[in-house]
Symmetry: C2
Subunit: 201 residues, 2 copies
Protein backbone atom coordinates (compact mmCIF):
# COMPACT_ATOMS: atom_id res chain seq x y z
CA UNK A 1 0.00 0.00 0.00
CA UNK A 2 1.06 3.59 -0.64
CA UNK A 3 0.56 5.61 2.50
CA UNK A 4 0.41 9.39 2.24
CA UNK A 5 2.24 9.78 5.55
CA UNK A 6 4.86 7.85 7.50
CA UNK A 7 2.89 8.52 10.69
CA UNK A 8 -0.18 6.84 9.19
CA UNK A 9 1.92 3.93 7.91
CA UNK A 10 3.51 3.35 11.31
CA UNK A 11 0.19 3.52 13.14
CA UNK A 12 -1.41 1.08 10.66
CA UNK A 13 1.52 -1.33 11.02
CA UNK A 14 1.39 -1.24 14.81
CA UNK A 15 -2.41 -1.53 15.08
CA UNK A 16 -2.56 -4.41 12.62
CA UNK A 17 -0.47 -6.47 15.05
CA UNK A 18 -3.57 -6.95 17.20
CA UNK A 19 -5.04 -10.43 16.63
CA UNK A 20 -7.86 -10.29 14.08
CA UNK A 21 -7.00 -6.75 12.94
CA UNK A 22 -5.90 -6.49 9.31
CA UNK A 23 -4.54 -3.49 7.41
CA UNK A 24 -8.02 -2.32 6.44
CA UNK A 25 -9.36 -2.43 10.00
CA UNK A 26 -6.20 -0.71 11.21
CA UNK A 27 -6.77 2.01 8.61
CA UNK A 28 -10.31 2.46 9.92
CA UNK A 29 -8.90 2.79 13.45
CA UNK A 30 -6.40 5.40 12.22
CA UNK A 31 -9.18 7.44 10.60
CA UNK A 32 -11.12 7.23 13.86
CA UNK A 33 -8.10 8.43 15.83
CA UNK A 34 -7.50 11.34 13.47
CA UNK A 35 -11.05 12.56 14.15
CA UNK A 36 -10.69 12.46 17.95
CA UNK A 37 -9.39 15.17 20.27
CA UNK A 38 -5.64 15.19 20.82
CA UNK A 39 -6.06 14.70 24.58
CA UNK A 40 -8.27 11.64 24.09
CA UNK A 41 -5.81 9.97 21.72
CA UNK A 42 -2.93 10.73 24.06
CA UNK A 43 -4.95 9.16 26.89
CA UNK A 44 -5.37 5.98 24.83
CA UNK A 45 -1.68 5.82 23.94
CA UNK A 46 -0.66 6.35 27.55
CA UNK A 47 -3.16 3.79 28.85
CA UNK A 48 -1.61 1.20 26.52
CA UNK A 49 1.94 2.01 27.57
CA UNK A 50 1.08 2.14 31.30
CA UNK A 51 -0.81 -1.15 31.07
CA UNK A 52 2.28 -2.99 29.94
CA UNK A 53 4.96 -1.14 31.89
CA UNK A 54 3.21 -0.78 35.27
CA UNK A 55 1.14 -3.97 35.52
CA UNK A 56 1.96 -6.35 38.35
CA UNK A 57 1.03 -9.97 38.89
CA UNK A 58 -0.24 -11.23 42.24
CA UNK A 59 2.63 -13.17 43.82
CA UNK A 60 0.20 -15.74 45.15
CA UNK A 61 -2.36 -16.46 42.43
CA UNK A 62 -0.74 -14.97 39.31
CA UNK A 63 -3.70 -12.76 38.44
CA UNK A 64 -2.97 -9.24 37.20
CA UNK A 65 -2.96 -6.72 40.00
CA UNK A 66 -1.99 -3.16 40.81
CA UNK A 67 -0.24 -4.35 43.96
CA UNK A 68 1.98 -7.28 44.99
CA UNK A 69 -1.04 -9.28 46.12
CA UNK A 70 -4.40 -8.97 44.37
CA UNK A 71 -7.65 -7.77 45.99
CA UNK A 72 -9.09 -11.27 46.05
CA UNK A 73 -6.07 -12.82 47.79
CA UNK A 74 -6.13 -9.92 50.25
CA UNK A 75 -9.85 -10.18 51.02
CA UNK A 76 -11.00 -11.60 54.37
CA UNK A 77 -14.43 -12.12 52.81
CA UNK A 78 -13.08 -14.83 50.49
CA UNK A 79 -12.51 -18.46 51.40
CA UNK A 80 -8.72 -18.60 51.14
CA UNK A 81 -8.72 -22.43 51.28
CA UNK A 82 -10.73 -22.85 48.09
CA UNK A 83 -8.83 -22.41 44.81
CA UNK A 84 -10.38 -22.09 41.36
CA UNK A 85 -7.80 -22.84 38.64
CA UNK A 86 -8.33 -20.84 35.43
CA UNK A 87 -6.48 -20.22 32.19
CA UNK A 88 -6.32 -16.43 32.19
CA UNK A 89 -7.61 -13.09 33.38
CA UNK A 90 -10.76 -13.26 31.26
CA UNK A 91 -11.93 -16.35 33.10
CA UNK A 92 -11.43 -14.61 36.46
CA UNK A 93 -13.55 -11.69 35.25
CA UNK A 94 -16.23 -14.02 33.84
CA UNK A 95 -16.49 -16.01 37.10
CA UNK A 96 -16.41 -12.86 39.26
CA UNK A 97 -19.29 -11.48 37.20
CA UNK A 98 -21.45 -14.47 38.15
CA UNK A 99 -21.16 -13.44 41.80
CA UNK A 100 -21.34 -17.16 42.69
CA UNK A 101 -17.77 -17.86 43.73
CA UNK A 102 -16.33 -16.82 47.07
CA UNK A 103 -12.94 -18.58 47.00
CA UNK A 104 -9.64 -17.53 45.41
CA UNK A 105 -8.17 -18.10 41.96
CA UNK A 106 -5.03 -19.48 40.48
CA UNK A 107 -4.23 -18.18 37.00
CA UNK A 108 -2.17 -20.62 34.91
CA UNK A 109 -1.46 -18.18 32.10
CA UNK A 110 -2.29 -20.76 29.44
CA UNK A 111 -3.02 -24.45 28.92
CA UNK A 112 -0.71 -27.39 28.25
CA UNK A 113 -0.50 -27.70 24.47
CA UNK A 114 2.20 -29.91 22.96
CA UNK A 115 1.13 -28.74 19.47
CA UNK A 116 1.96 -25.14 20.38
CA UNK A 117 5.03 -26.11 22.37
CA UNK A 118 3.52 -25.14 25.72
CA UNK A 119 4.54 -27.51 28.51
CA UNK A 120 3.80 -27.49 32.26
CA UNK A 121 6.98 -25.50 32.98
CA UNK A 122 5.66 -22.61 30.84
CA UNK A 123 2.64 -22.25 33.11
CA UNK A 124 2.12 -20.98 36.65
CA UNK A 125 1.89 -24.54 38.03
CA UNK A 126 4.81 -24.74 40.46
CA UNK A 127 3.28 -21.90 42.46
CA UNK A 128 -0.04 -23.75 42.61
CA UNK A 129 1.60 -26.86 44.06
CA UNK A 130 3.47 -24.68 46.57
CA UNK A 131 0.19 -23.04 47.58
CA UNK A 132 -1.54 -26.36 48.12
CA UNK A 133 1.41 -27.67 50.13
CA UNK A 134 1.55 -24.57 52.34
CA UNK A 135 -1.99 -23.21 52.63
CA UNK A 136 -4.27 -25.94 53.98
CA UNK A 137 -6.29 -25.89 50.77
CA UNK A 138 -9.51 -27.89 51.05
CA UNK A 139 -10.63 -27.97 47.41
CA UNK A 140 -9.30 -27.18 43.95
CA UNK A 141 -11.88 -26.46 41.25
CA UNK A 142 -10.62 -26.88 37.69
CA UNK A 143 -12.43 -24.26 35.59
CA UNK A 144 -10.67 -24.86 32.29
CA UNK A 145 -11.99 -24.97 28.73
CA UNK A 146 -13.62 -28.21 27.56
CA UNK A 147 -10.94 -28.67 24.89
CA UNK A 148 -8.12 -31.16 24.41
CA UNK A 149 -5.71 -28.64 25.95
CA UNK A 150 -8.03 -28.03 28.89
CA UNK A 151 -8.56 -31.74 29.51
CA UNK A 152 -4.83 -32.44 29.23
CA UNK A 153 -4.10 -29.73 31.77
CA UNK A 154 -6.75 -31.02 34.19
CA UNK A 155 -5.32 -34.54 33.84
CA UNK A 156 -1.75 -33.34 34.46
CA UNK A 157 -2.73 -31.25 37.48
CA UNK A 158 -4.90 -33.97 39.04
CA UNK A 159 -1.93 -36.35 38.91
CA UNK A 160 0.38 -33.74 40.44
CA UNK A 161 -2.05 -32.95 43.26
CA UNK A 162 -3.03 -36.55 44.07
CA UNK A 163 -0.72 -36.92 47.05
CA UNK A 164 -1.85 -33.74 48.82
CA UNK A 165 -5.21 -35.19 49.82
CA UNK A 166 -7.01 -32.15 48.46
CA UNK A 167 -10.44 -32.54 46.86
CA UNK A 168 -10.35 -31.88 43.12
CA UNK A 169 -13.47 -30.99 41.15
CA UNK A 170 -14.25 -29.66 37.69
CA UNK A 171 -17.00 -27.27 36.70
CA UNK A 172 -20.06 -29.06 35.32
CA UNK A 173 -20.52 -29.49 31.59
CA UNK A 174 -23.80 -29.83 29.81
CA UNK A 175 -26.57 -28.02 27.97
CA UNK A 176 -26.50 -24.26 28.57
CA UNK A 177 -29.28 -22.84 30.72
CA UNK A 178 -31.95 -21.83 28.20
CA UNK A 179 -30.23 -23.92 25.53
CA UNK A 180 -32.35 -26.01 23.18
CA UNK A 181 -31.57 -29.70 22.99
CA UNK A 182 -31.74 -30.01 19.23
CA UNK A 183 -29.02 -27.38 18.76
CA UNK A 184 -26.56 -28.87 21.26
CA UNK A 185 -23.62 -30.72 19.75
CA UNK A 186 -23.63 -34.49 20.13
CA UNK A 187 -20.65 -34.70 22.46
CA UNK A 188 -22.10 -32.19 24.92
CA UNK A 189 -25.50 -33.86 24.76
CA UNK A 190 -24.00 -37.32 25.20
CA UNK A 191 -21.94 -36.22 28.17
CA UNK A 192 -24.87 -34.40 29.76
CA UNK A 193 -26.84 -37.67 29.69
CA UNK A 194 -23.94 -39.70 31.07
CA UNK A 195 -23.36 -37.10 33.80
CA UNK A 196 -27.06 -36.73 34.66
CA UNK A 197 -27.92 -35.48 38.13
CA UNK A 198 -30.80 -36.46 40.47
CA UNK A 199 -33.81 -34.23 39.99
CA UNK A 200 -34.44 -31.95 42.95
CA UNK A 201 -38.11 -31.21 42.41
CA UNK B 1 -17.51 -5.69 35.10
CA UNK B 2 -15.12 -6.17 37.99
CA UNK B 3 -11.59 -5.57 36.81
CA UNK B 4 -8.69 -6.91 38.87
CA UNK B 5 -6.58 -3.85 38.07
CA UNK B 6 -7.21 -0.18 37.38
CA UNK B 7 -4.61 -0.33 34.59
CA UNK B 8 -6.59 -3.09 32.86
CA UNK B 9 -9.86 -1.23 33.35
CA UNK B 10 -8.48 1.98 31.87
CA UNK B 11 -6.97 0.18 28.88
CA UNK B 12 -10.25 -1.69 28.23
CA UNK B 13 -12.24 1.55 28.46
CA UNK B 14 -9.94 3.37 26.07
CA UNK B 15 -9.66 0.52 23.53
CA UNK B 16 -13.43 -0.04 23.48
CA UNK B 17 -13.85 3.49 22.11
CA UNK B 18 -12.70 2.23 18.72
CA UNK B 19 -15.69 1.75 16.42
CA UNK B 20 -16.82 -1.88 16.43
CA UNK B 21 -14.72 -2.79 19.48
CA UNK B 22 -16.75 -3.84 22.53
CA UNK B 23 -15.56 -4.58 26.05
CA UNK B 24 -14.87 -8.22 25.23
CA UNK B 25 -12.75 -7.44 22.18
CA UNK B 26 -10.95 -4.75 24.16
CA UNK B 27 -10.22 -7.32 26.87
CA UNK B 28 -8.77 -9.64 24.22
CA UNK B 29 -6.57 -6.77 23.01
CA UNK B 30 -5.42 -6.13 26.60
CA UNK B 31 -4.46 -9.81 27.04
CA UNK B 32 -2.55 -9.63 23.76
CA UNK B 33 -0.70 -6.51 24.91
CA UNK B 34 0.21 -8.09 28.26
CA UNK B 35 1.90 -10.94 26.39
CA UNK B 36 4.02 -8.65 24.19
CA UNK B 37 7.44 -7.19 24.90
CA UNK B 38 7.44 -3.88 26.75
CA UNK B 39 9.29 -2.14 23.91
CA UNK B 40 6.74 -3.31 21.33
CA UNK B 41 3.78 -2.07 23.37
CA UNK B 42 5.52 1.25 23.98
CA UNK B 43 6.08 1.53 20.21
CA UNK B 44 2.36 1.03 19.61
CA UNK B 45 1.37 3.61 22.23
CA UNK B 46 3.81 6.14 20.86
CA UNK B 47 2.74 5.53 17.24
CA UNK B 48 -0.86 6.30 18.27
CA UNK B 49 0.10 9.49 20.12
CA UNK B 50 2.45 10.70 17.36
CA UNK B 51 -0.16 9.99 14.69
CA UNK B 52 -2.59 12.42 16.27
CA UNK B 53 -0.20 15.05 17.57
CA UNK B 54 2.22 15.31 14.64
CA UNK B 55 -0.03 14.70 11.63
CA UNK B 56 -0.39 17.54 9.12
CA UNK B 57 -2.94 18.10 6.41
CA UNK B 58 -1.92 19.20 2.92
CA UNK B 59 -2.85 22.89 2.65
CA UNK B 60 -3.96 22.39 -0.92
CA UNK B 61 -5.87 19.10 -1.12
CA UNK B 62 -6.62 18.33 2.55
CA UNK B 63 -5.04 14.87 2.46
CA UNK B 64 -2.96 13.80 5.45
CA UNK B 65 0.70 14.56 5.00
CA UNK B 66 3.97 14.72 6.90
CA UNK B 67 4.67 18.14 5.34
CA UNK B 68 2.67 21.30 4.53
CA UNK B 69 1.97 20.06 1.01
CA UNK B 70 1.51 16.35 0.29
CA UNK B 71 3.71 14.27 -2.05
CA UNK B 72 1.04 14.16 -4.72
CA UNK B 73 0.49 17.93 -4.79
CA UNK B 74 4.29 18.37 -4.88
CA UNK B 75 4.87 15.89 -7.71
CA UNK B 76 5.75 17.15 -11.19
CA UNK B 77 4.72 13.73 -12.55
CA UNK B 78 1.08 14.34 -11.65
CA UNK B 79 -1.39 16.34 -13.73
CA UNK B 80 -2.03 19.25 -11.40
CA UNK B 81 -5.05 20.42 -13.44
CA UNK B 82 -7.04 17.24 -12.85
CA UNK B 83 -8.74 16.90 -9.47
CA UNK B 84 -10.33 13.74 -8.08
CA UNK B 85 -12.75 14.58 -5.25
CA UNK B 86 -12.93 11.88 -2.54
CA UNK B 87 -14.46 11.46 0.90
CA UNK B 88 -11.40 10.53 2.91
CA UNK B 89 -7.87 9.16 3.14
CA UNK B 90 -8.96 5.57 2.49
CA UNK B 91 -10.27 6.49 -0.94
CA UNK B 92 -6.97 8.16 -1.84
CA UNK B 93 -5.11 5.01 -0.84
CA UNK B 94 -7.55 2.79 -2.76
CA UNK B 95 -7.26 4.86 -5.95
CA UNK B 96 -3.47 5.17 -5.63
CA UNK B 97 -3.27 1.39 -5.34
CA UNK B 98 -4.94 1.04 -8.76
CA UNK B 99 -2.01 2.92 -10.34
CA UNK B 100 -4.51 4.28 -12.90
CA UNK B 101 -4.83 7.89 -11.80
CA UNK B 102 -2.20 10.53 -12.48
CA UNK B 103 -3.98 13.69 -11.32
CA UNK B 104 -4.36 15.18 -7.84
CA UNK B 105 -6.95 14.68 -5.11
CA UNK B 106 -9.22 16.80 -3.03
CA UNK B 107 -10.24 15.23 0.28
CA UNK B 108 -13.61 16.47 1.56
CA UNK B 109 -13.32 14.85 4.99
CA UNK B 110 -16.87 13.51 4.82
CA UNK B 111 -20.09 13.71 2.82
CA UNK B 112 -23.09 16.03 3.13
CA UNK B 113 -25.53 14.27 5.44
CA UNK B 114 -28.44 16.27 6.87
CA UNK B 115 -29.41 13.24 8.99
CA UNK B 116 -26.04 13.34 10.76
CA UNK B 117 -25.97 17.13 10.85
CA UNK B 118 -23.11 17.42 8.35
CA UNK B 119 -23.52 20.38 6.01
CA UNK B 120 -21.28 21.78 3.25
CA UNK B 121 -19.56 24.13 5.71
CA UNK B 122 -18.32 21.13 7.73
CA UNK B 123 -16.43 19.81 4.72
CA UNK B 124 -13.31 20.91 2.85
CA UNK B 125 -15.38 22.47 0.05
CA UNK B 126 -14.41 26.15 0.17
CA UNK B 127 -10.82 25.18 -0.55
CA UNK B 128 -11.93 23.12 -3.54
CA UNK B 129 -13.74 26.10 -5.05
CA UNK B 130 -10.73 28.30 -4.41
CA UNK B 131 -8.51 25.73 -6.15
CA UNK B 132 -10.72 25.60 -9.20
CA UNK B 133 -10.92 29.40 -9.37
CA UNK B 134 -7.13 29.79 -9.09
CA UNK B 135 -5.55 26.73 -10.65
CA UNK B 136 -6.77 26.40 -14.25
CA UNK B 137 -8.39 23.08 -13.41
CA UNK B 138 -9.56 21.23 -16.53
CA UNK B 139 -11.59 18.42 -14.99
CA UNK B 140 -13.07 17.43 -11.63
CA UNK B 141 -13.80 13.71 -11.12
CA UNK B 142 -16.31 12.96 -8.39
CA UNK B 143 -15.21 9.66 -6.82
CA UNK B 144 -17.77 9.48 -4.02
CA UNK B 145 -19.77 6.57 -2.66
CA UNK B 146 -22.93 5.58 -4.55
CA UNK B 147 -25.09 6.42 -1.53
CA UNK B 148 -27.66 9.11 -0.81
CA UNK B 149 -24.96 11.15 0.94
CA UNK B 150 -22.54 10.69 -1.95
CA UNK B 151 -25.15 11.64 -4.55
CA UNK B 152 -26.25 14.67 -2.51
CA UNK B 153 -22.65 15.84 -2.26
CA UNK B 154 -22.05 15.39 -6.01
CA UNK B 155 -25.23 17.34 -6.75
CA UNK B 156 -24.23 20.17 -4.39
CA UNK B 157 -20.71 20.39 -5.78
CA UNK B 158 -21.82 20.26 -9.42
CA UNK B 159 -24.11 23.25 -8.78
CA UNK B 160 -21.33 25.14 -7.03
CA UNK B 161 -18.85 24.49 -9.84
CA UNK B 162 -21.20 25.15 -12.77
CA UNK B 163 -20.00 28.69 -13.44
CA UNK B 164 -16.30 27.83 -13.57
CA UNK B 165 -16.56 26.08 -16.95
CA UNK B 166 -14.72 23.06 -15.60
CA UNK B 167 -15.62 19.59 -16.84
CA UNK B 168 -17.27 17.48 -14.15
CA UNK B 169 -17.38 13.69 -14.32
CA UNK B 170 -18.21 10.85 -11.96
CA UNK B 171 -16.57 7.45 -11.77
CA UNK B 172 -18.51 4.79 -13.65
CA UNK B 173 -20.97 2.55 -11.84
CA UNK B 174 -21.91 -0.94 -12.88
CA UNK B 175 -21.22 -4.62 -12.47
CA UNK B 176 -17.82 -5.30 -10.86
CA UNK B 177 -15.14 -6.78 -13.09
CA UNK B 178 -15.50 -10.53 -12.59
CA UNK B 179 -18.91 -9.98 -11.01
CA UNK B 180 -21.73 -12.35 -11.88
CA UNK B 181 -24.89 -10.80 -13.23
CA UNK B 182 -27.30 -12.86 -11.19
CA UNK B 183 -25.74 -11.69 -7.92
CA UNK B 184 -25.78 -7.97 -8.77
CA UNK B 185 -28.45 -5.91 -7.03
CA UNK B 186 -31.28 -4.66 -9.24
CA UNK B 187 -30.42 -0.98 -9.00
CA UNK B 188 -26.81 -1.53 -10.07
CA UNK B 189 -27.89 -3.85 -12.86
CA UNK B 190 -30.58 -1.46 -14.05
CA UNK B 191 -28.21 1.48 -14.08
CA UNK B 192 -25.51 -0.51 -15.85
CA UNK B 193 -27.96 -1.21 -18.68
CA UNK B 194 -29.13 2.40 -18.87
CA UNK B 195 -25.50 3.60 -18.85
CA UNK B 196 -24.30 1.00 -21.37
CA UNK B 197 -21.18 1.85 -23.36
CA UNK B 198 -20.29 1.08 -27.00
CA UNK B 199 -18.40 -2.21 -27.34
CA UNK B 200 -14.78 -1.72 -28.33
CA UNK B 201 -14.09 -5.14 -29.81
Amino acid sequence: MNYPSILVEEAVNELSKFPGVGKKSAMRMVLHLLKQQETDVTKLGEAIIKLRTQIKYCQRCGNVSDTDFCNICNSIKRNQHLICVVEDLRDVIAIENTGQFTGTYHVLGGLISPVNGIGPSDLNIENLIKRIADENTTEVIMALSATTEGDTTVFYLSRKLKDFGVQISTISRGISIGGELEYADEITLGRSIALRIPYQG
